[in-house]
């Protein structure tokens, strides 16, 4: 298993944001992480990538425990945090060089590798523009470029298509599908059509708990996907 989430739990004060979430993702799988806002999707991803420390439970990435061997685990992950944060006063060019530097990519390989990723996410034209001047779509793609630069085995993306126009969404999904074979991919979304479009598996969480874990087909076989989603997330737990 490339990514294994074991019983992750996170309390913020008296609020239990994530409650015993477990799942694993193997190479070739694209896992869609679904749930209403505030369900615990982002918190789970933040724990799996080592940003937040869990109240209990752990995650292992390519066999490296995120709590005991955080650096080894982080080397195997590409992560696109929610909102695709990037340093606003840098250009994509300098930003990607910084990431390559931190990722320990050999100096000689850097330019070629960056050029390849830049081509993949189509940001050639904005490479010398400050990131703060970029549109939402370009900013998101810079974030994607950062996440896939070191060709990670595990790719975690928090709402990768949020705020993109339909054409951009199509491009990003195409990119995800093209990488699906060699990687274990987890993406969160609240767009239901996205699950059908790119995912091989779907997990629905609400109030911090996993309520459904299966294929998109299993989900759609129970009726129109948004109705199934509503039935599962609004409390009727037997529906899953």
């Amino acid at each position: 298993m490339m990514l294994q989430i074991q019983n992750l739990t996170k309390d913020f004060g008296s609020l239990r944001a994530v409650d015993g979430v477990s799942f694993s993702v193997d190479k070739g799988e694209v896992l869609g992480f679904l749930g209403p806002n505030g369900a615990g999707k982002s918190t789970t991803m933040k724990m799996a990538t080592g940003f937040l420390s869990p109240t209990s439970g752990t995650a292992s990435i390519c066999g490296h425990d995120i709590l005991n061997a955080p650096l080894a685990a982080k080397r195997c992950i590409g992560y696109l945090p929610e909102g695709a944060p990037a340093y606003p006063d840098m250009t994509p060019e300098s930003f990607l060089h910084f990431i390559a530097d931190i990722r320990g990519i050999a100096r000689g390989d850097r330019d070629a590798l960056i050029a390849e990723v830049v081509r993949k996410v189509h940001i050639e034209h904005v490479m010398h523009q400050r990131i703060e001047t970029l549109s939402k779509g370009y900013k998101r793609r810079v974030g994607l470029a950062q996440a896939i630069l070191h060709d990670p085995q595990v790719l975690v993306m928090d709402e990768p298509t949020d705020g993109l126009d339909p054409n951009q969404k199509h491009e990003v999904r195409k990119l995800i599908r093209s990488m699906a074979k060699e990687k274990a991919i987890v993406l969160s979304t609240h767009i239901l059509e996205e699950v059908e479009a790119v995912c091989t598996r779907a997990i629905i969480i609400a109030r911090g708990r996993v309520l459904f874990d299966g294929t998109p087909e299993q989900l759609t076989s129970q009726g129109p996907i948004d109705e199934v989603f509503r039935r599962i997330t609004t409390g009727d737990r037997t529906a899953a």
Binding site: G50, F51, P81, E82, P88, R103
Partner: protein, 243 residues
Amino acid sequence: MRNIVSIAKRELGGYFSTPVAYVFLIVYLLLANGLTLFITRFYEREQADLLAFFTWHPWVYLFLVPAVTMRLWAEERRQGTIELLFTLPITLAESVVGKFLAAWAFTGIALLLTIPIWITVNVLGKPDNGVILSSYVGSFLMAGAYLAIGSVVSSSTKNQVIAFVVSAVLCLVFVLAGLPGVMDVLDWMPNVVLETLRSFSFLAHFESIQTGVIDLRDITFFLSLIATCLVVNAIVLDMKKAS
């Protein structure tokens, strides 16, 4: 070590990619030189030393250094880049030290740009350059202490204004700690407390270095204050990453 350099390089590059760095450097040079020439009357004193120049440093740093550090961590929080930084394969210590060193190097650059006044005093007279050199070292160490305090404050908020004000006040406490007037007011306190306060005084340690004697105690004071602040900085970040 390599990661510290990468972090520091990015941070320092960030200063110069915005007008912030240039505004800071210009204001710093205007203030440092202006105060020296017009208030402490560098020329009229007719003394071949830079006492009139270094006297101002604790006060100039008081509000310029918090201006450098206010964005150090607060901005990472506000932009959400803190999440990016802490999911990259680097340790917390590396990013804390890297960012601090960048800020320190920046104040070092500002200090280096004051070299014309050193040249001036050498042209006009025969100053004791050993004293001047140790004053520069002292000033740089003191700037580091201000920076470390500002860095801690910046790590605990995402509001730059709060970071600025709180850092300036905290640094002021360290400056005032040794002033005779302040110590007189606190005269009623037990001697132990007064001595402890005095030993934390930036002014006392800086003045001691300015005499030209680089005392290990003064250096240890500034360096251990920096180290302590950076440890606290890391703890604060670790405790409240998300908020």
